[in-house]
Symmetry: C2
Subunit: 84 residues, 2 copies
């Protein structure tokens, strides 16, 4: 399972686009705070598997390329734990 505190440590790369508290300042980028962890994990895995294209998908693919399964679980747990 994901570890919230570990996820917080790993989120440094995410916050430029998704906001310091998981609420993005750019409305084309999704808020992540309070989203279901299983959906967040699914989305990260989808980028990694090349199941998403268009929009910022290439950016996300580049970021997730360096993430392990545990990293993705930790990040999902962390963002899910934040107040929406």
């Amino acid at each position: 399972d994901g570890d919230v505190n570990a996820g917080a440590q790993k989120a440094a790369t995410c916050l430029a686009c998704h906001g310091a508290e998981g609420k993005s300042a750019v409305p084309l980028y999704p808020n992540l705070a309070g989203q279901h962890a299983p959906y967040l994990l699914h989305s990260l895995q989808a980028y990694k598997k090349g199941e998403r294209s268009g929009g910022q998908a290439e950016v996300m693919k580049a970021f997730v390329a360096g993430l392990s399964d545990q990293d993705m679980e930790d990040l999902s747990a962390y963002y899910s734990s934040l107040k929406p």
Copy 2:
């Protein structure tokens, strides 16, 4: 631009999976309530353009096939207006 009330009328198909108030009971399905409208619209368009696969993408593709651009804007405005 999207019309919140029109979106509410058009959301009958969405709520089975995404919840009556945009909060899904199934954690693999995303909450939509309070998400940025431009991101919601992007996602709907991505399904329509075939830019997403895997998971429930085929289900979403089938639903969005019947939606006009205005429908997608209305739905995005509606779900964005709901309390997260």
